[in-house]
Each structure stands twice: as C-alpha cells, then as structure tokens.
C-alpha cells in the first residue's frame, strides 16, 4: 500500500491532527492551569488550519482506490466550511468558558473535530461505504453535542429526538443503499453505479432506492418531510451547536448530495430523481416558510428558516451543471456567513441574558444598536435583499437553475421566488421587533466578548463584501468545474 496517498487527504489529516492535539491537551492538563488556554489555543490553531486548507492546492488525486477524491471543488467547499467552523468557534468560546460547560470544553472540541472530519470524508467520498462512514461520524457525535447542556432538560429532549431520528434515517438510507447495491452490478463506486444503472432497465426497485436515499440524506439537510426533528433539536441544543448544525452540517450534506445524485444516479432516466427533488424542494421551501411565520423562539424560528434555505440550496442540485454547483457552493458560503451572523447575535444575547424569544428583541436598537445592525443586515441577507450577499446568492442560483430553459424549472423558480416573499415577511418580523416595536428595550445594554464581536464583524464583512465583490463566486464556479 502506498502511504503517500494519504498526503492527498491533507484537510482531513489536519483536522485529525487538531483532534489529537486537543485530545492530548485535554487529557494531560489539569483543570485551572494550562487548560485555561485550551480555548484560545484551539481557536487559533483552527484558524491557522483553515488558512492552510484555503491555501493548499488540490492535487486532484484519488485515494483508497478511488473511494476518496481530492478535487478542487471538494477542497473549496471544505475551505468554505472551515470559515464557518472558525466563526462558530469564536462565537462559542464565551459559552464554552462558562462555568457549566468549561469543565467539558475539551470534549466539545473533540466532538466537533470528529464531526468535521466525518463531513470532510462525506464530501470527498466517491464510494457509498466511505460516504456512510463519513455521514455517521458526522452525525453521531452531534447527538452528544446536542445534549451538551447537561442541566437543561430541553437539551436532552433534543438529543433524544435527534439520535432516534438519525438512526432511523440511517437505517432507511441503508435499506435504500442495499437496493442500490442490488442494481449496481456489485460495486458501490459512484461511477460504477451510474454505468450499471445506465445499462439496466428501469425498475421499481430503483425508484424505491432513490426515494430512500433522498430520505436518508434529506434528513441531514432537513428537507421536508424529513425535517421534523430540526426545529426541536435546534431549539433544545446549545446555541453554538445549533449554529454548527444549521450551517456546517447542512452545507457538507448539500455538497455530498450533489455529488451522489449527479455522479452516481446521473441523468440516466432523466427526470426520475429530478421530479422527486422537484416536489421535495417545493415542499421544503413552502412548509419551512409556513412554519417559520408563527415562531416566537428565535432558535426555533431559525430552524424553520434554515429548512427553507435548504430548499433554495437544493435548487443547485436541479441544475446538474458546474455552474449550478458553483452557485450552490456560493449560496452555502453566503448562507454560512448570514446564518452565523444571526446566531452570533442570538448567542451573544442568550449568553448575557438567557433570552431567546422574539419578543425579547423589542426595541433592541435602543440598547444595542450594533447588534441590531448586524441582525438587520443578516436578516436582509437571508431574505435576499441587495446589496447584501444573500441577494447575489439567490439571484445566481436562480439564474443557473433556469439555464436549461425548461418550463418546469422556470415554474420551480417562480415558486421559490414567491416563497421569498413569505420568507421576507418573517425575516422582517425580526427587523420589526428590533426597530419598530414600541416600548423600552427588554435586553439591557451590554458589551459582548471580543471573540463574539470578531465573529460578528467577520460575518457582517462577508455579508456586505462578498456580494459586491465576485471573487468567491468566481472561485466557486471555477473549482466546481473540477468536481
């Protein structure tokens, strides 16, 4: 065996290395002494790692006989996710250092890095075995993370719902994969599956297989109707975990989804899984929006918002083109910074006051104008309002969907566009609470921690800057061509 091929897995190795460093530090330092530095050291190290992942070139080689591919697009999405994780780390540092959690902070980082490692595998996998391993190592530790607030009942309820649904969905996925296996000609490589399906006749088994695979991965993406765990888990989990779940986990799954459905299932029986996704996307966007308009808890609200955002991300899958993948990656990037900006504000306020209700935001601008601005920009970006990045990401993804010129896709975009109106409504509800609702501020003025402010600045910078400056989009589209 040629061990040099591990060199192509540099991102994973870096994360693994980080994991080891944290693990060793955590294990061999005593409470109260060197452990104090765990958080800053980890954050800084991860920052360096993220820079490294951005900078290292992708060599385009295959590992493990082609089960793992190190392509430009994979590296790009990993790099984008790394930014997100870095922001999450910054935002969570305050919470991690709180009395209740501080004692277990090493575990938090370890679990986080393991899941990230799993997601990276999932992104690069070109064989279902590696994919499943990645998927599971990305989702199982998350259950432990969701339950991290030991003293909060809601955290446990969320974790229970999460793990039970996760196991169920992986069971469904496995059943679906077993059917795929039956049709695959004995190999679970994506390329082989495509070749085998192309050569065989249309069968009911394939339909069921596809439906189950969509359901299995749709769970991670919280597509409707596989989304019902989302709201409860987002609400119950610690905010840092919620933000991690909502952006990183979702972003990686979306990319993997694209790879699987384009590479493994291709366009053999054109329209088969596309029609399924057509329905799922419409349901996702619409139902997510319909639920979101009633929510009063900010985290739960963001859960439904992220469900409908997932629908928009999935529009990229419908294109099955490099342009679409590039737009989708860009959308993920924008979604990461916008969503994290929102969670940054939510967690800052929650850490100081413990308030997460939308009512608690009434008159926020009077006490915390900067947080209010950040929140407003983030909401506008999520709603797709120019000149913020969200507008560009939406516009570009819609443009790439309509590229084929088929009327159903136009109609899909129309539905999505009409849904943006509903989504605008509920995003504006938050803006309204902050700026318009009368009365004195319910949250007193405070100055948040440096790390939180840094994270927010990064997010706001991303929101304002990376729409007007097209470099990220160019990067995404260029790399997407090399899947």
């Amino acid at each position: 065996m040629d061990y040099s091929q591990f060199g192509a897995m540099l991102p994973e190795l870096i994360i693994l290395g980080l994991f080891l460093v944290v693990f060793l530090l955590d294990t061999f330092t005593k409470d109260g002494s060197a452990k104090r530095f765990l958080t800053p050291v980890t954050t800084v190290l991860f920052g360096l790692a993220a820079v490294a992942i951005w900078l290292i070139p992708s060599c385009g080689t295959e590992v493990f006989g082609g089960m793992y591919v190190d392509s430009a697009a994979c590296k790009a999405i990993k790099a984008i996710l790394c930014i997100g994780v870095f922001i999450v780390l910054l935002q969570s540092s305050e919470w991690v250092e709180s009395d209740e959690v501080a004692i277990r902070k090493g575990e938090f980082y370890e679990l986080l890095f393991v899941t990230l490692f799993g997601m990276f595998l999932m992104i690069s996998a070109r064989h279902f075995l590696l994919f499943v391993i990645g998927l599971e190592s990305a989702s199982l530790p998350l259950a432990a993370m969701v339950a991290f607030n030991k003293k909060h009942y809601q955290s446990h309820e969320a974790a229970f719902k999460y793990i039970i649904t996760a196991v169920f969905s992986s069971a469904v996925l496995l059943v679906g994969l077993s059917f795929v296996y039956a049709l695959s000609g004995g190999s679970l490589y994506f390329d082989d599956i495509r070749a085998a399906i192309a050569g065989s006749e249309m069968s009911g088994l394939l339909v069921v297989a596809l439906a189950f695979v969509i359901a299995g991965i749709g769970f991670k993406l919280s597509l409707v109707p596989f989304h019902l765990w989302t709201a409860d888990v987002y609400q119950g989990a610690p905010t840092a975990i919620t933000s991690y779940l909502s952006v990183i986990s979702k972003g990686s799954a979306a990319f993997a989804f694209f790879v699987i459905f384009v590479q493994a299932f291709g366009t053999v029986y054109s329209g088969l899984w596309e029609w399924m996704m057509y329905a799922v996307i419409i349901l996702t966007i619409t139902i997510g929006n319909l639920f979101a308009i009633r929510q009063k808890n900010m985290k739960r609200f963001m859960a439904f918002s992220s469900i409908s955002q997932a629908g928009y991300i999935m529009l990229g899958v419908m294109t099955e083109s490099a342009l679409g993948l590039g737009s989708m990656m860009y959308y993920i990037f924008v979604y990461v910074v916008s969503n994290l900006a929102v969670f940054g504000v939510i967690s800052a306020i929650e850490n100081k006051t413990g308030k997460v209700g939308m009512d608690d935001y009434d008159g926020l601008h009077k006490s915390n104008p900067w947080l209010s601005f950040a929140m407003t920009l983030a909401m506008f970006s999520l709603a797709g309002i120019p000149p913020f990045a969200g507008f560009f990401s939406k516009f570009l993804i819609f443009t790439s969907v309509t590229a084929s010129g088929s009327m159903p896709l136009y109609m899909l975009v129309l539905v999505a566009l009409i849904n943006t109106i509903i989504s605008l409504y509920y995003y504006l509800l938050v803006v309204k609470a902050i700026w318009i609702n009368p009365g004195e501020a319910k949250v007193e003025a405070f100055r948040s921690a440096f790390t939180e402010r840094l994270a927010l600045w990064l997010c706001v910078g991303g929101i304002v800057f990376f729409g007007l400056v097209p470099c990220i989009y160019d990067y995404c589209v260029n790399t997407a061509a090399l899947l």
Binding site: K161, S169, V224, F226, L228, W229, F291, I293, R294
Partner: protein, 660 residues
C-alpha cells in the same frame, strides 16, 4: 406689424400677475391698486393702438383691395407633439381679435378702476388685482390665439382665473362651492372640446405633409379656415352614428363653448358665479369670458359652415337657452342673478345669430355675412351695456349691502348717477333706439328672419321678454316702494368717483356704440358689409320692446298687488322659474347621489374590500395554512418518523405511478 406691441399686450398683464401675486404680500393697497390700474391702462392703450392701426391705417398688411387680412404677428413653437401636431403660441390679428382686444381691455380697465373703490376695504386687495391681471392675460391670449390648441390653453387659464375670482371671498362656503361648480362644469365641457380637437387634428394631421393641409401645424386656424373643403375631405368620408366625423368634431368643440358661454344644459354655474365680487361678474361673467364660446364659433366659422348640421345644433341650443334664461330671469329676486340669466339669454342670442349665418348654397357661397357680423356686433355692444349694468348693480349692492331687490326700491332719489346709467343700460338691452343694443339686436333678428321665419319670431319673443324683465328689475330697484330703512339711519348714496366714472363712460359708450360702422370693420370674410336697418324687423322689435316695457311699467312702477296676483294665477310656474326649473337639483342628484354616492363610494368600497381584501386574504390564507399544518410538528418523535416514512414511501410511490 412690429411684434413689440403684441408681445407687450400679453406680457404686461402676466408680469403684473407675477409682481402682484408674489410681491403683493409686502405691498401697500394703494401701490398694488395703482400698479394694477396703470398696468391695465397701458395694455388698453397698446390694444387701442394695435386695433386702430389694424382697422384704420390702411396698411397693405392689413387691408388689400378693401378686404381685411388675417395675419399672424408672431407664432413660435411651444411644444411639438409630432411633425404635424405642433403647438404654437402666437398672436393672430384679424377683425374679430382686434375687436376683442378693444372690448377686453376697455372693460378690464373699467373694472380695475371701479374695483379700486368697490374693493377698497376687502382683505386680499393685492391678490384681487393679481387675479384680475391673470384673467386679462388669459383672455387676451385666448382671443389672439393662432391655433385651436393655444386657444385651449388659454381657455383653461381663463377657467382657472374665473375660479380664483369667483372664490375670492374664500371664507364663504357659498363662494367656494360656486367657484368649484364653475370650474368643474366648464372643465366637463372642455373635456368634449378636447376630444373634438383630438378628432379634428388627427384627421388633418393624417393628410400628406406636402398636401394642401400640410403647410402649417394641424391646429392652425388660418390654415384650417382657409380650406374647409380640404378639411372635410381629410376625414375621408368617415361617419359616426350617421353624422360626418367633422360634424361631430365641430359639435364637440362647440360643447366646450357651451360650457364657457353657459348654454343649456351647462348653464348652471353662471348664476352661482355671482358669488364673486361684482366687478368680477361684470368683467368675466358678462362681458368677456362668457362670450368665449361665441368667439370660438366665430373663429372656426368656416369649418362650421362646411358642416351645416353643427350650425343647426348651435341654433337650437341657443334658441332654447335664450328663452329659458329669459323666463327664469323674470322670476329672480337677486339682482345679480337676473343679470346673470339675462347674460345667458343674450349670449344665446349671439349663438343663434351665428347659427343662422348660413344659407342654402347659392353659387358656392353658403354663408350670410349678416348673422356673423350682427353676432359680433352684439358681442361688442352687449359687453359694454352688460358691464354697465353689472357695475351699476355693484354700486347698488355697495350702497345697500344686499343683493336682493326686496331691500331696495325707490333708490332713484338717493343714487342719481347710478339710476341714470342703469336706465341707459336697460334701454340698450331692451333694444330701444338709439341705444346700441337696438342696432345689434336688430341686425341679429334680421339675420334670423332671413334664415327662417321661426327663428326670427322666436327670438323676437325672447327680445320682448328681455325688455320686460330688465324693466321689471329697473322699476323694482329704483321705483316701487321706498325702503323705509333709508329714512332712518342708513342712507344710500352714489358711489365714489372711481366707481362712478366707469359707469358714466360705459353709459356714454352704450349710447353711441350703435353708430359705429361695424359692418365696415368686422365681417366674416373681411369684406365690408353694408348695414341697413330692415324696417319691418326693426318696427316689430321696437313695438315688442315698447309693449313689454309698458307692461313692466304698469306692473312695477308703483307698489301694487298686480305682480302678486299674476304669480298666483299659476304659482307652480313662478316657483319653477324661480328655482330655475330645477336644473340645479337635477345636477345635484346626479353628482351627489349617482356619481359620488354610487360610483365613487362603490369603487372605493370595492378597492378596500375586494382588491385590498384579496391581498390581505392572501396573507390570511398563508397564516391559516400555517396554523392548519402545525399538527405535523407534534413534538412526538414517533409522529416525526411516521411522516418521514410516509414521505419517503409516497415519494417513491407517486413517482412510480407517474412513470408507469
């Protein structure tokens, strides 16, 4: 002709308007009054110079072989809709516009002067003079218009100045609503005029640019009037509901004139317009603006002639209006209203006369110069004596502080100047020689008789009614029974010189104006027309007038019970006439109940509840759906999984069904 004077004639009043309107707030009353009067005086002088030059200089530009010429002193592009539809602002000099310059500036100057006394104590004196200047500007612009669109522009401006002046006492609700009514009614009429212009100019503009009608803008009067047959030809024989399109266009344009000239059924605004200051009534609602309709028909007369149906329409409208207004005038109490209805009736006279200025074609000529000339003549004389009467009425109102003759009576002793001038006015309007009204009315009746005996007879009857109601008014004011209040305390007296002087001047003019050789000056085709009194017509009309005056004398000279008895013979008639045959009530019903109550409220309701309701409904439906589906998120993980599995299976099953 040098363009300086014409430009100044238009520019001075406009500048006066700006100066008085913007700077008036900071000016003293005296300064504003002097400025206004001087301004108007200079415009009058300039106009006289222009008119006299035009009529009497004998310059080749104005008269060639005894035929008076039309000329555009200047004509500059203001707005070019298309290559053919170009709006110019210019100055057209021809007999009627020259005559109108004289009429407008004279009356306007008199009113300026008169107002100095009449309005002395009113707040907003400066504003008043500004508005008067604006009106004079608009009216002058209207009469010198070189094209129908310029006329329309100034037509609208005249309308708004009238609105501003009627509503001058803006704190009185009645003045405000009268001004509103005047504006809206005339605007309604202008709408038809606009449509008429649209139709006419469209057809003309469709002709080739190098064709006979291609020489000038499709709005141009001189071009249109010089070749009516080509204009008719340009419609390519198009018809609408049986009439030729040109007929319709001309009738529509005339409807605009009906509005301004208060012809039935658009007359309802004029009596109410008497809410304005009395000098304004004299200027606008007697002498100048209300004859704009007559002027319009005269201006477009060649085109009206080519489609005689439109002239018939004008005649019929005029005849009905004349009679109606005369009857109503017999039963009014407010002296200004009597004068207002008398104005309506007299303008209708002019209309009928114009309508009758058409004969069956004889050797290609199918107009009769008499009706046209007589109409213009009457316009001129009527302006003078009606202004006189209004100003006289103003002096009376100034003296007794009431508009109603019931609080007058026996005033001849207290106000001799007013009395005598008023009497001259009444004699003139009644058509008693040698006052001016006789001559012009006689010519008009002659023209009507020459068209058809019916029109002549009908209008002679109206002339009789005119004499009757005017003398009824005269006697009730100056004779009848003296108001006892004059004895104790408040003693009416003649007005100050600023007011009396115009009365005297106008009375003098009314006495002599009939001897102006009008036929030499103002005719349809520029050729002189020799006036001769047609003895039978003159005799009839004088007889009728004298009889009517005699009847009025019997009934109203001394206080007696005869009027009361007459009224009680047929009380319904008197009430109906007094209430103007319920036209106002009818309009009130249509506008308030039908248009406001049903249409406007209906639409507003529809908008709020149906259209807006749909939009709100969309939001409500979304909300409703949101609530309805919330059971999906029941909190029980088993339900979640059930949905999950159901979703997956349905997804597969439906796809399967679809592809099978």
């Amino acid at each position: 002709m040098d363009i300086t004077l014409p430009i100044l004639i238009l520019a001075i009043p406009f500048l006066m308007f700006l100066i008085l309107g913007i700077g008036g707030v900071k000016m003293s009353r005296k300064l504003a009054g002097v400025l206004g009067i001087l301004g108007m005086g200079s415009v009058m002088t300039l106009s006289y110079v222009v008119a006299l030059t035009y009529f009497f200089s004998g310059d080749a530009a104005f008269i060639v072989d005894g035929v008076r010429q039309q000329l555009q002193v200047f004509d500059v592009t203001w707005l070019a809709f298309t290559d053919r539809l170009v709006v110019n602002i210019g100055f057209l000099l021809d007999p009627i516009s020259a005559m109108m310059l004289v009429v407008i500036t004279t009356i306007s100057f008199m009113v300026h002067l008169y107002s100095w006394g009449y309005m002395e104590h009113e707040p907003g004196f400066q504003r008043y003079y500004a508005f008067l200047s604006l009106f004079s500007f608009s009216m002058l612009g209207l009469v010198v218009a070189t094209n129908i669109f310029q006329m329309y522009i100034f037509w609208e401006l005249v309308g708004v100045s009238s609105y501003l002046l009627i509503g001058f006492f803006y704190k009185l609700p009645s003045a405000v609503s009268a001004s509103k009514k005047a504006f809206i009614v005339t605007r309604f009429a202008d709408l038809f005029m606009l449509i008429g212009i649209l139709v006419l100019s469209w057809y003309v503009s469709q002709t080739p640019a190098d064709g006979p009608l291609g020489g000038a803008s499709a709005f141009n009067f001189m071009m249109l009037n010089s070749q009516p047959t080509n204009v008719l030809a340009s419609t390519l024989g198009a018809t609408f509901m049986g009439g030729s399109v040109l007929t319709w266009a001309m009738i529509l344009i005339f409807v605009g004139g009906m509005g301004k000239s208060a012809m039935m059924p658009l007359h309802i605004w004029l009596p109410d317009a008497m809410e304005g200051p009395t000098p304004v009534s004299a200027l606008i609602h007697a002498a100048t603006m209300v004859v704009a309709g007559v002027y319009l028909v005269a201006r477009f007369f060649p085109l009206y002639c080519i489609v005689p149906d439109s002239l018939t329409f004008i005649t019929v409208v005029g005849a009905i209006t004349a009679f109606y207004a005369a009857v109503v005038a017999c039963a009014q109490i407010d002296i200004k209203r009597v004068l207002a209805f008398s104005t309506i009736s007299q303008i209708a006279f002019m209309m009928v006369s114009l309508g009758c200025a058409y004969n069956e074609p004889v050797e290609g000529v199918h107009y009769s110069g008499l009706g046209y000339m007589a109409s213009m003549f009457h316009l001129f004389t009527h302006a003078m004596f009606k202004a006189l009467l209004f100003l006289g009425a103003g002096a009376l109102i100034h003296a007794v502080h009431s508009n109603n003759y019931t609080s007058m009576g026996g005033l001849r002793k207290y106000m001799p100047i007013t009395h005598w001038t008023f009497l001259i006015g009444c004699l003139a309007i009644a058509g008693i020689p040698p006052f001016s009204g006789f001559f012009s009315k006689d010519e008009m009746l002659a023209a009507m008789f020459s068209r058809h005996w019916f029109w002549g007879a009908w209008m002679t009857m109206v002339a009789g009614l005119t004499a009757f109601y005017m003398f009824r008014l005269y006697y009730l004011i100056f004779w009848w029974e003296e108001n006892p209040e004059y004895k104790n305390g408040h003693k009416p007296h003649d007005a100050p010189w600023q007011m009396s002087l115009p009365l005297i001047i106008l009375a003098a003019v009314s006495c002599v104006a009939g001897f102006i050789p009008f036929g030499e000056l103002v005719t349809f085709n520029g050729e002189p027309y020799h006036i001769h009194i047609e003895a039978p017509v003159a005799a009839t009309s004088i007889t009728v007038a004298v009889l009517a005056i005699a009847l009025a004398t019997v009934m109203y000279r001394k206080k007696n019970s005869m009027p009361e008895k007459m009224k009680n013979i047929w009380p319904g008639l008197w009430t109906a006439a007094n209430r103007r045959f319920y036209w106002d009530e009818m309009y009130q019903w249509v506008t308030h109940t039908v248009i406001f109550g049903c249409i406007c409220r209906g639409i507003a309701w529809f908008d709020r509840h149906i259209i807006d309701g749909t939009m709100d409904g969309l939001a409500a439906v979304t909300q409703f759906c949101s609530v309805k589906i919330k059971g999906m998120q029941s909190g029980s993980v088993q339900t979640y999984v059930a949905w999950y599995l159901l979703g997956a299976i349905l997804l597969g099953a439906i796809t399967w069904i679809c592809i099978l």
